[in-house]
């Protein structure tokens, strides 16, 4: 009885074992192709169309997927494994299938203003060595940064230039200049960013200058005046203040094919204004007219005696009225006749 029981149990165990083995071993006519790096298995076997049609499709597909997954898992177990905190971890080989990238390729950084200019002018970057020989410390040092060679911030003495104010602190001047350079660089960096973003670049406004010119001062005044909450609308004007040039208004033209009637009316209006501006009394014209009238009168007078003399026989009267010169002329006329 006991032996029978044991036999039975053993048979049962063997059966279970076979069942288990059947669960993890899958038979395929063609070997699957694996890309373990991507956890990918490709099944080249043709699908059993008959079974697919006869069986419940869902069940068929699920069992097929299960089998193939099993094969993939089996393959994974062949990889070298290690235990990390109660979990068995397999190291995957490099993926052999190339997948398209998820995101588009990042755009190259927009060139800065200097880079654009350098390209235009054909200026090439020259590589400089990183290390420079420092004469003072007698060793090779970096060109820039901490513990750099020929560090001019470590100068203990600065010669005062001949043109400089002797009471000026050259050290603080140097520090200030450096700070300004840094600030300017930062500003340019931000402007480059804004430019790359196609955003509106804020105007630089006014950069401090050593000796501001007349134009600079005018500009500064203009900027200061407009820097109120109401954009300078209520700001008083100085007696002889002029608006700075090239500010604000841009010239705008009428459309090429606009309203022809309106254009005509505008031109007629201009003509009307031009006409009304003409002086009513044209001095030149008036003088000319006067001269002409005088001329006409004079010539009439000159001709008068000549004609009369020719026409009638009243020479006696003429001779009485006029001087001898006139008479002579009259005679000449007679002689001609």
């Amino acid at each position: 009885m006991a032996a029978l029981m044991i036999e039975h149990v053993l048979a049962q165990a063997e059966k279970d074992e076979a069942e288990k083995l059947k669960l993890i071993s899958v038979d395929k006519e063609l070997e699957l192709q694996f890309d373990l790096g991507n956890l990918l298995a490709i099944d080249p076997n043709p699908a059993d169309v008959k079974a697919f049609r006869q069986q419940n499709r869902e069940v068929f597909l699920r069992s097929l997927a299960r089998d193939n997954t099993q094969l993939l898992i089996n393959q994974l177990w062949t990889l070298p494994t290690q235990r990390v905190e109660e979990a068995v971890v397999a190291t995957l080989p490099d993926p052999s299938t190339r997948l398209p990238r998820e995101k588009p390729i990042p755009k190259p950084r927009a060139p800065t203003r200097w880079e654009e200019f350098a390209k235009l002018k054909g200026i090439k970057k020259k590589k400089k060595t990183n290390l420079v020989w420092d004469e003072v410390s007698k060793e090779w040092r970096r060109r820039w940064g901490y513990k750099r060679a020929n560090d001019n911030t470590k100068d203990w003495l600065i010669e005062v230039p001949a043109t400089a104010d002797p009471n000026e602190d050259q050290f603080s001047k140097r520090v200030k200049a450096k700070k300004e350079r840094v600030a300017k660089n930062e500003l340019n960096r931000l402007r480059n960013l804004a430019r790359a973003d196609k955003g509106k670049i804020p105007g630089v406004g006014l950069t401090p200058t050593e000796q501001p010119s007349r134009d600079d001062l005018g500009k500064a005044m203009h900027v200061a005046k407009r820097s109120t909450a109401s954009a300078g609308r209520f700001q008083d004007k100085l007696p002889k203040e002029k608006e700075p040039k090239n500010m604000g208004k841009k010239r705008k033209f009428q459309p090429l094919l606009g309203d022809f009637g309106a254009e005509k009316n505008k031109q007629l209006e201009i003509l009307k204004v031009m006409d009304s501006k003409k002086p009513k009394l044209d001095v030149n014209k008036a003088v000319n007219r006067q001269m002409r009238e005088e001329d006409a009168e004079a010539s009439a007078k000159r001709k008068k005696p000549f004609k009369k003399g020719g026409r009638g026989k009243q020479g006696g009267k003429k001779g009485k009225g006029r001087g001898p010169v006139r008479g002579g002329k009259g005679q000449g006329g007679k002689r001609r006749k």
């Binding site: 090429l256 094919l257 606009g258 005509k264 505008k266 030149n284 014209k285 000319n288």
Partner: protein, 180 residues
């Protein structure tokens, strides 16, 4: 190509009014169709609306000319009349000068009109008045500026200049390549 600004229109009208006075109105306001002034390459063209609309199909740098060129704006924004405007100015001319047949050629070669070549002149012409120059057969030859008033012309010796030359139809040959 664009319409003239008010400023440009005024400068041009002031120049035109020296020759045709208030007759500019007849150029602006025409009963036979819509005509307008357009600026292209600093030159002012007098174009009918129809041709203007056709010309819009041509790219700016390819467009050489359209309508009638009246003149051009200099870089100092002054207006210079071109000889091509003569056809429109001659019918409306207020002050005319007729040149004797012998002096015609001299004028057409770009010389000033001398007293000896002066055939007739409109009465009442003031000094420095814009005038249209005609041949004795009433063919418009060009335009100029009266150097002397009509009155003064009478008592001049024959070699003095009466009309300063500005433009003449000889330019059609002399400046063939630049006239548009």
């Amino acid at each position: 190509m664009r319409p003239l600004t008010d400023e440009e229109t005024r400068t041009m009208f002031e120049k035109l009014s020296k020759y045709i006075g208030e007759n500019i109105k007849l150029l602006v306001d025409r009963p036979d169709g819509t005509y307008c002034f357009r600026l292209h390459n600093d030159r002012v063209y007098y174009v009918s609306e129809k041709i203007l609309k056709l010309a819009t199909n041509i790219a700016r740098e390819k467009l050489v000319s359209l309508g009638t060129c009246f003149g051009k704006f200099t870089k100092t924004q002054k207006f210079r009349l071109h000889i091509t405007a003569l056809d429109y100015l001659a019918p409306y001319a207020k002050y005319k000068v007729w040149v004797k047949p012998g002096a015609e050629q001299s004028f057409l070669y770009g010389n000033h009109v001398l007293k000896s070549g002066l055939g007739r002149i409109t009465e009442n012409t003031a000094q420095y008045q814009g005038v249209i120059v005609y041949s004795m057969a009433d063919v418009p030859l060009g335009f100029g500026v009266a150097a002397k008033s009509t009155q003064e012309c009478r008592r001049l010796d024959p070699m003095t200049i009466v009309v300063f030359h500005q433009a003449d139809v000889g330019e059609y040959i002399r400046h063939e390549d630049t006239l548009t």
